[in-house]
Amino acid sequence: MVKKKLSSWSFFLIIFVFPFLSQDPYVLNILITTGIWTVAAWGVRLIMSTGQLTLGHAAYMAIGAYSSALLVMKGGLSFWIAFPLAGIISAIVALLIGYPTLRIKGVYFSIITFAFAEIIRLIIIHWPSLLGGYGGLAKIPAPDPFLTIRFTSRLPYYYLLLALAIVTYVVMVRIDQSRLGKIFSSIHESDTLAESIGINIMKYKIIAFCIGCFFAGLSGSFYAHYFNFTSPEFFTIWQSIYCLIFVLVGGGGSVFGPLLGSFFLTLIPEILRVAKEYEPIIYAVILILIMFLLPGGLISLPMRLRGKKSF
């Protein structure tokens, strides 16, 4: 237990201390972007832990982004109220959609989530008066000053995101370790078995789905206020697929996995900038290689190494 606490906190400590070594805005931006996707990917992982693979996560990020932007710009609310509200709105939509769709399993559920995500994207596009259409919403204001900290440079965003990431991490780990997490696990293993011992699987699937989408909404809201701009292009099938890939490549087995996946797969394209037109190909090759060598994801690396050594 103590070892585990040390492991995760030492990682966050490194992230916390990093700006004291370097405040290069380029690097901070990469870390912030990674963080946003990590929070979203954690949501995907939670939903996957009940055996439901979602291909529509970007829609909930979009709902969070647009809700937050509109609440601040049109509703006059402060970011600090709009931000959690955005998460709640996403969760409510998740509840409404989840209720009829979560009883559907397997690949059919994935396709429904994809269909819904596209419908959301198309609604955003076809409502330009409110949502800006293709051009998106521009000039989304930065968060209001917190205590005396003004959001004029990268640093306050960095620490805000770090705080969000830590909170999300703790929530995810707590859920995993709690009775709730065990129930999710048992549903994942076999719903019929779980049902036979009296677990109301719909109720728990909905809970996981809503919490997962809540965090998607939060990450979307942060995204909008950090970029000061949001557009339907930011929330297509590809973004949903990337969330999923971060989880699968990092490893869905532990909460740490999506964090790893998100880091690697955000850093790699940046490092590969030098490769110019070969970048998409090298990226694809790396993706395939990781899956070949570590089908359980990056977190399974130490176990694989240990496994090999034991012979």
Binding site: G135, N228, F229, F263, R273
Partner: protein, 399 residues
């Protein structure tokens, strides 16, 4: 939960730190004086045709400038170095590219991009940091009074059609009604608004206007409905070149005898191959055959320079991108400074610029709220027997 040793976490953290160190390093200048600029264009994926065209044209100018030692400021000469980044026609990638150019490479001048979403996502970085951003895209919002460091270097449909529609009125007075076809995306929407407004200003009656899903190749359903309204001509300015050729082919198959029209540049060889030479006969576009009539000295020189570097065939989509670097170099040399604010002021003050198209100006105070839209000549040509025939040129006026 599988126990993780904290050594593992330390190792992972260390690996990630190493990866971060591997990030593209800031480029350092050689002892020779170099002016670094950035360029964000779609170099792969959907918009690659335009991005790569821009790259070619800007490179032609770059080689010319560097051949004469570089641009001259005071007694010193600076060679031009351009760092190209691919935005993949998507705003998130464009934004990351801008982050790298501004924060890593420390450029003060950026050429870009094709997509309005990219530009709108990048401007929150370039404007506050006073970085000169020379842009493209058709969206009106890209230019605004609160964005003094953004200049649009290419004509939008608004200006192009202001030149082409009056020509059409004069040359084909029997045409009275028009139908519009546009793709369902940002530029399609923006262009459709311009088309409608300018067509009506010129006395045309709009009988049909519809958007199609991007990726559509079969336009029969849409055209079927369009033809019921019997338009005298069809305008599909917003459609990408491949789609345009398909629309022309399919509408002719369906028996349409009217004129086809688009306020964009096409590659005639490709266009006729996809549409069919007979079907494309008489198609009106904004393409200029640099070997034909109405060509300036400057354009002919550009043609020769292009062919010297890239060989045949010549890409007729490229010339309009030449002004990016051409005007920037002139502005820097005129202002005698590498400070983007000083250069911006020069670009505002100078009345006329000498480009390969002849004299060009910046305008748009009334329409955009700020004088940042370039005005270059609009060309009109028709496809006759598979070849471009230049029909005229005019200078658009902005309201």
């Amino acid at each position: 939960m599988k126990p993780k040793s904290w050594k593992y976490s330390g190792v992972v953290g260390g690996i990630i730190l190493c990866l971060i160190i591997c990030l593209p390093a800031p480029s350092f200048s050689a002892p020779e004086k170099i002016l670094k600029m950035g360029a964000i264009f779609p170099l792969s994926g959907r918009g690659a045709t335009w991005g790569l065209a821009a790259q070619k044209a800007i490179t032609v100018k770059q080689k010319e400038v560097n051949a004469r030692g570089g641009l001259k400021i005071g007694n010193e000469k600076y060679k031009v170095e351009i760092i190209w980044e691919d935005d993949k026609y998507n705003a998130a990638a464009g934004r990351m590219a801008a982050e790298k150019l501004v924060n890593r490479d420390q450029v003060k001048f950026i050429h870009g991009s094709q997509s309005s979403a990219v530009i709108l996502a990048v401007q929150p970085i370039t404007e506050p940091q006073k970085i000169l951003f020379l842009v493209n895209s058709y969206a009106k919002e890209v230019l605004a009074p609160d964005k003094p460091y953004s200049f649009r270097m290419v004509l939008t449909s608004n200006e192009i059609l202001q030149g082409m529609y009056p020509w059409l009125k004069k040359t084909y007075p029997q045409l009275k009604t028009v139908a519009f076809i546009e793709p369902n995306d940002a530029s399609g929407w923006s262009i459709e608004k311009d088309c409608k407004r300018i067509a009506e200003q010129n006395g045309y009656q709009v009988v049909f206007s519809q958007f199609y899903e991007r990726g559509t190749s079969d336009f029969y359903p849409l055209l079927n409905k369009l033809l019921v309204h019997k338009p005298d001509f069809i305008d599909f300015t917003g459609a990408p070149p491949g789609d345009q050729a398909l629309i022309v082919k399919q509408v002719r198959e369906l028996g349409y005898k009217g004129k086809t029209f688009a306020g964009t540049t096409i590659d005639p060889v490709q266009f006729c191959k996809i549409a069919g030479v007979q079907n494309a006969e008489g198609h009106i576009s904004n393409t200029h055959d640099l070997l034909g009539a109405y060509t300036t000295e400057g354009q002919r020189k550009y043609y020769d320079d292009y062919v010297a570097i890239y060989g045949q065939p010549f890409d007729p989509v490229t010339p309009k991108y030449h002004v990016y670097l051409d005007i920037l170099v002139q502005a820097i040399e005129k202002s005698g400074s590498l400070d983007p604010t000083v250069v911006k002021d020069t670009m505002e003050k100078v009345d006329t610029w000498n480009t390969i198209f002849g004299p060009a100006k910046f305008a748009g105070q009334a329409y955009y709220g700020i004088k940042r839209q370039i005005i270059t000549p609009v060309y009109v040509s028709e496809l006759i027997g598979g070849k471009l025939v230049n029909r005229g040129t005019m200078m658009p006026t902005l309201p």
